[in-house]
Amino acid sequence: MQVDRVSRQYVIRKLLIMIPSLLGISIVLFALLALAPGDPFDELATNPAVPPEVRAALRAKFGLDDPIWMRYWHWLIALLQGDWGFSFVSRMDVSTLILQRLPVTLVVIGASQILAILIAIPVGVLAATRPYSLFDQIANTFAFIGFSLPTFFTGLVLILIFSIQLDWLPFVYRADIAATGWAFYWEHIKQSIMPVTVLGLFQGAALVRFVRSSVLDVIRLDYVTTARSKGIGERKVITRHVVRTALIPVVTLVALQMPIVFSGAIVTEQIFRVPGIGSLLITSMLSNDTPVVMGVTFVSACLVVIFNLIADILYGWLDPRIAFR
């Protein structure tokens, strides 16, 4: 059908736009890291066992003294061949390191985003359909509290209550769980509860406010009155005619917040000792492991771009006026 062809073109166009954006991001990241002080061979300089000429030879071999553009070019060519570089600190390929850590982060961030959306949409919609009611005011109050409290604070409070006082949940996230079968999943769920809750509630609180105002904007529109005049019932008016349009700006917000979610995840991963790419980033920064820092930041950038792509596709699905342009 014609519609399918048009939307396929739309998706392809959006995919093509990703390429220059990722290139641009990688240039900026690479330049910033090259300008920052320190590189993996700094510690060799202070190590008396390594003679200066060996050090110079190593630097020359790995091209560390080449101009930035040349180093970037080498990095890019290697990346396109699937080589993300080598971590001198961990003595491992950067890609192996990242692949070890990425699933944990994706699970924690994904679960917290789903939690945030599952809370925000029903609460926001209900609050908007009864503006200034008791429910609305309670929801607003909690939303304000929720996004006023930083995650490092709520995280510590949760650890204090559920790990130290009640001893229900572990406060260190372990990747090396010995159990098998259901027990393995159960341990994973138990240790994910707190990081997911902290991130999810923080995100959800801001989203509730946004969903509420978005629904309030739509509910006043003429076509909602038309929908009411059809006798389809208030429930269908809200779910069919209000929520779908009101979600369009919410999709934007969720996509735009992805970078914030990632930086929030870095903090949360530190608190709960989650072995994700956030904690990998921090440790590699502290040990001047530039290839890993470059790899992790670039992966985060890719994820943000991918989420924006998903948002664009969702737009096209939610609002036919966009896909047809």
């Binding site: 003429d222 009155t225 038309t226 009411r228 005049s229 006798g231 019932g233 349009t245 036919p320 006026r321």
Partner: protein, 323 residues
Amino acid sequence: MTEPLLDIRGLKTWFKTDDGMVRAVDGVDLHIDRGETLGVVGESGCGKTVTARSVLKLIDMPPGRFEDGQILWQGRDLIPLSMEEMDKIRAKEIAIIFQEPMTSLNPVYTVGDQIAEVIELHQKLSRKQAIAGAAEMLRLVNIPNPQRRVHDYPHQFSGGMRQRVMIAMALSCQPKLLIADEPTTALDVTIQAQILELMQEMKERFGMAIMLITHAMGVVAETCQRVTVMYAGKVVEEAPVEALFGDPRHPYTQGLIRSIPRVDRSAEKKQRLEAIAGTVPNLLDPPPGCRFAARCKFAMDVCTQAVPPLKEVGPGHFVRCVL
């Protein structure tokens, strides 16, 4: 006398605002018989739209509320009905179309979906049958290529075409009454005529009554059998259309008729179009007497003291004026 289809008695729809109660509709009486077209005229802000929306209870409450009065639909008062009971009357018995065709359709669903939604619900048909019914309705309102257009989105239609879609949607369950709230105001003149003609054609086909709300006296003269003139939340004159244009009694009605632009007259005498001086009174605190008194050329002391009663001056011709 037979029972009218719709009989509004002493309706008061007020709105609570930060400044006080706005008496948007303040004691309106009007009735519509089966198969007739009633024009409801008056300038902006006189309560026409609120009256129309009150009938289907499409007023947001709060801030709005029914202070007093009855809306008798075939003898049954709609005001005490729950929203669930109203939903059985909406679209099925009384349908409404609005002033703004550009914003009255949901942009994210196809027009077929939106029409089918009504058919599916009230005629208990399957989705597929309902879509076919929607295409048939589009054909009836003269939308070319209805089988294909039924799958198009509102933004792919022009304003006039969207109003046709609205009419198709409103008529899809063969209601007994169509409320048309300024259906042509937002359209350009040639399209206006087409839409009015279409409404006339549909009326003959389905035998429904129309409540045509407008501020265009020319439209009234062409399409209505009876006219109710509203001013500041009250009915000031009610008459068969010939009587109203032939012998307007209320000074406000006279003013409205004189403000119709007439090509023949202004060309000869280079006359300026007559406007009614002043603006509609503040409905927060309406004046005690006749609400038009402040703008009336013939106002006397008695006019500002008490609201004049509606008196009969001819067969079916009522006027709220002491003159």
